[in-house]
């Protein structure tokens, strides 16, 4: 026998260690479709997590709605004031929107969001983890695939990285592994929005010569083909030209309130265009 009997189990450990390293190196290098075993785990976990989230959510809801009502009156008055201001703003935007539609027809442009949309519920959200992902209750049975963009009514949430039949894992835009091509709405300067964990995001590769101001809106540029052009990514919170190098450091607060995500929309690209 090649390996003495007393070292056999240690050899097994070494083999498993090497195997895990091989899996890691393989998957770190490429984005692939989810394997059968991983699909099975996702599929089994999603309903359990969903049930736990719903029951705990009901308790939380009852507490907030019926017991913990401090400050509700003040909030109500503030919301009424905001509502009046927003209605006025909405009227102006509606005018702009109608004008945009007219111009679009004139120019015969395709609507960037004429894709099929699948609504999904967030069933798990590990808030204190280093990995910023969520689990949603829709999968390949609903037409979702790895790489599809995920949005909420506030803006871009992230993209799908794992899919099972009835569940998918979404990489949030604040994860360090997330890179989205973006542009600054005001100046049209293009860069890459990378996640920075709990600190939000940072917009990279914007030249030091560009003027970037806090409050500037960052949109998806549609360059990589994953996200349609013009989706809201976030708002610039600070731009710094410290240190050397060609680029400035730009901090961006995501438009989506990640901690409060309940429902999301997954965009299914048009099979004809692939966009």
């Amino acid at each position: 026998m090649l390996i003495p009997r007393k070292y056999l189990s240690l050899a097994a450990v070494a083999v498993l260690l090497l195997l895990s390293l091989a899996v890691l190196s393989y998957s770190a290098a490429r984005l692939s479709e989810t394997g059968f075993l991983r699909k099975m785990v996702l599929e089994a976990a999603a309903p359990v997590e969903d049930a736990v989230s719903i029951s705990l959510g009901a308790v939380d809801d009852a507490w907030k709605r019926y017991i913990f009502l401090v400050g509700i009156g003040d909030e109500n008055r503030r919301l009424r004031r905001e509502n009046t201001a927003l209605s006025e703003q909405l009227n102006r935007y509606r005018e702009g929107y109608l004008e945009g539609i007219r111009l679009q027809k004139l120019l015969d442009l395709q609507d960037g969001l004429s894709r099929r949309v699948v609504t999904a519920r967030v069933v798990d959200h590990s808030r204190a983890s280093l990995f910023k992902t969520i689990l949603i209750n829709k999968g390949t049975a609903d037409g979702l695939r790895v790489g599809f963009p995920v949005l909420s009514e506030q803006g871009v949430v992230g993209r799908i990285i794992e899919t099972a039949w009835h569940a998918s894992q979404v990489l949030l835009l604040i994860d360090g592994n997330s890179n989205i091509d973006g542009l600054i709405q005001r100046s049209r300067a293009q860069g890459v929005l990378q996640g920075a964990g709990s600190a939000g995001c940072s917009l990279k590769y914007i030249s030091r010569a560009e003027e970037v101001l806090p409050g500037d809106v960052v949109l998806s540029s549609g360059l990589a083909g994953v996200f349609p052009k013009g989706l809201l990514l976030g708002v610039v919170t600070g731009a710094f030209r410290t240190g050397e190098g060609l680029f400035q450091r730009i901090d961006v607060a995501p438009a989506v309130d990640i901690g409060k995500l309940e429902e999301v929309l997954a965009l299914i690209p048009d099979p004809g265009t692939g966009k």
Binding site: L16, L24, A45, S126, A128, S198
Partner: protein, 170 residues
């Protein structure tokens, strides 16, 4: 044999509890990573084959459900398991102080490894997460580990697994 049959189910439930209920109990402030404590317990008490399969399986579940890089947890948990075995060979692994310090250290090591991987592979700077997420998590794991070690020992007896408490080193 019963160990290998029940292991996937128990570990699956453990991972689900970890990523759902414990996250809510801690209000999303601290990640209570019981899985690391389980790995260290396996390193201190189980034989090499059983422990390494447990580590690989728990890492696989976490990779499927939370990780953004498949295989990362599997690899890190195998490394932690290997460290635990080295400690077991060289020290009396029954002292609560040692269990707490080593568990906290391993939790911190795991987090730092992830931060470094993000830094050098993806170019994303997550160093600010060390005091915010990693240190509280390491403290929580360190404080919980002696209590959970005694619970696991009872659970092991329940599963009718041979008691493999480490001998005192002379």
């Amino acid at each position: 044999m019963i160990y290998y049959l029940l292991l996937p189910v128990w570990l699956f439930l453990l991972v689900i509890v970890q990523i759902t209920i414990l996250d809510l109990v801690s209000f999303g402030w601290i990640e209570i990573e019981i899985s690391v404590i389980v790995i260290i317990y396996a390193g201190f008490h189980f034989d090499a084959l059983r422990g390494s399969i447990l580590s690989l399986l728990i890492g696989f579940y976490l990779d499927c459900l939370t990780s953004t890089i498949f295989g990362l947890h599997m690899f890190l948990y195998m490394v932690i398991y290997g460290f635990s075995r080295i400690v077991r060979e060289n020290a009396y692994a029954g002292k609560p102080g040692l269990i707490a310090c080593f568990s906290g250290f391993c939790a911190l090591l795991e987090g730092v490894a992830i931060v470094l991987l993000y830094r050098f592979v993806f170019g994303s700077n997550l160093l600010h997460e060390i005091p915010k997420i990693l240190v509280p998590r390491a403290i929580a794991v360190g404080l919980l580990s002696p209590i959970l070690f005694s619970l696991f020992q009872r659970f092991e007896v329940f599963l009718n697994v041979e008691d493999r408490r480490p001998d005192r080193r002379i």
